[in-house]
Amino acid sequence: MAIDLLIGAVKAIVILLLVLNLSAVLLWFERKGSALIQDRVGANRANIFGVGQRLGMPNLGLMNTLMADPLKLFTKEDFVPDGADRFLHSLGPFLALFPVLIAFAVVPIGDTFELGGHTVQLQAATINAGALYILATIGIGVYGVAIGGWASNNRWALLGGVRATAQMISYEIAMGLAIISIVITYGTLDLQSIVQQQGGVWFGWLPCWGIFLQPVAFIMLLTAGMAESKRVPFDLPEGESELIAGYFTEYSGGKQAAFMLTDFAEVVLAAVLVTLFFFGGWQVPWLYSDGFHFGAHSLLLPRALVVILGVVAFWIKVVAFCWLQILIRWTMPRFRYDQLMTLGWKGLVPLGLLNVLVTAFVVVLASGAAH
């Protein structure tokens, strides 16, 4: 009992720290990546007594983004505007960050394995309705930006909050429809089971990944996930040419950092969902529980190594999709608000309904053919 509690606590802390660290590293990705895309050098100045430079190492800007930025943000004055609702102004950023972070609790980051007589699920919380849980946490996430924008006692912040709320609930529907078609395809809400069903191969070589079954849902989930993260091209809530900085105009220091972290955690969440539903989660192509098999060739591996390979593969896929989102963010211009709503309500929602309908028909016909 005690050891199970300990395992649970360790898993929860490790997954939380992985997500938080990945969100911080994404900030560095974003700065150096945007420099790469725009043919600039990017952050390359800050260092500690020039130690790395004396040894001839190139300055990759890690000090700027991982040390200097957080230090600056957390030592800044915590400003609350006049006439603002002090309690809600402080609550806003945490109400935004908390739901995104707890969403990762049901994400399976690896296969189940035995450790000293205990079956360890590499999942902080084993909920058999994981897909619903993720939708619920995303639904709660709306209030952080809404309340933050309202409590700032600033018209631009309020407008940013209204825009953010409208945008997020609009794209939640598209996201829900994409997840429903996945759930119909795999016949379960359990994320671990969805990932397990993506093991194996078709035609002897093609991995059984969800992308080959549900390409439309993949596009929808990626688009909706990017819209949820409120970044370019969906960054109308913080459109600086119109709204200064939108819902976090009146935030400074640590609270502003919490809002920024929320955006990056949402990028990670979108990448994680896409990986889980469409790219096999922790499944490595042609890797089975006892090693690699491809056609007649096999390479047997110990079980521990297989589990570790799965965890590594999961995070590589997640980082790849984070990078894809950063790439899109630095390539596209911002949408107009009517384009955003048209894409959501007249594009993704009907497409999602159609996709659910077609999926349901195919699943029923296939199960009828099997009997």
Partner: protein, 178 residues
């Protein structure tokens, strides 16, 4: 469900629903209502009604409360400074509350012995069993409810749609203006 969890969630639900009634600022009331709904959703989850619990949070917190928020914003509701209602309202409200309290008292005094957990079949409250009852046993009721809701939505759109008189219409797209 452990008794401690039940007591904790129940106390949170009661305190936050008191917050809905007692606070003056509409936004604070709304947040307290969200808190109430989340704790009731958590109560459902603790009672193994996983699907209902999550749907409670997705539908009420994720959708309906957002609409409430928009209504508060768009009507620009401010905190009431003066207490509302006259003597008559207070009089009848007192009678209603007393009647409710008496009813609850009678209910609890009679059912004290029978408050035991009911035995349910395994898989109760899962999405499978919910779907079996919705699309099997209660299919007609479910489908008629959905048609009723659809009619209500279309009706709401038809009523809310602004009809612009013919003469006030500007030149439509593509028609040459003189």
């Amino acid at each position: 469900m452990p008794v401690g969890v039940f007591i904790f969630l129940g106390v949170v639900a009661i305190i936050s629903s008191l917050g809905v009634v007692l606070q003056r600022s509409p936004i604070h009331c709304l947040l307290a209502l969200i808190m109430t709904l989340v704790s009731i959703g958590a109560l459902f989850l603790a009672l193994d009604a996983v699907t209902v619990g999550f749907l409670q949070i997705i539908v009420y917190v994720g959708a309906i409360m957002v609409l409430f928020l928009f209504v508060i914003w768009l009507l620009n509701l401010q905190a009431d400074e003066a207490p509302t209602g006259g003597l008559g309202l207070k009089f009848f409200a007192t009678i209603a509350v007393a009647a409710m309290a008496a009813e609850l008292f009678i209910f609890f005094s009679k059912t004290r012995g029978a408050m035991e957990a009911a035995n349910v079949a395994p898989g109760y409250g899962s999405i499978d069993s919910l779907a079996q009852s919705l699309f099997g046993q209660y299919l007609m009721a479910f489908e008629s409810t959905s048609i009723l809701l659809l009619v209500a939505v279309i009706g709401a759109v038809a009523i809310a749609r602004r009809t612009i008189p013919q003469r006030e219409r500007g030149p439509t797209k593509g028609t040459p203006t003189r």
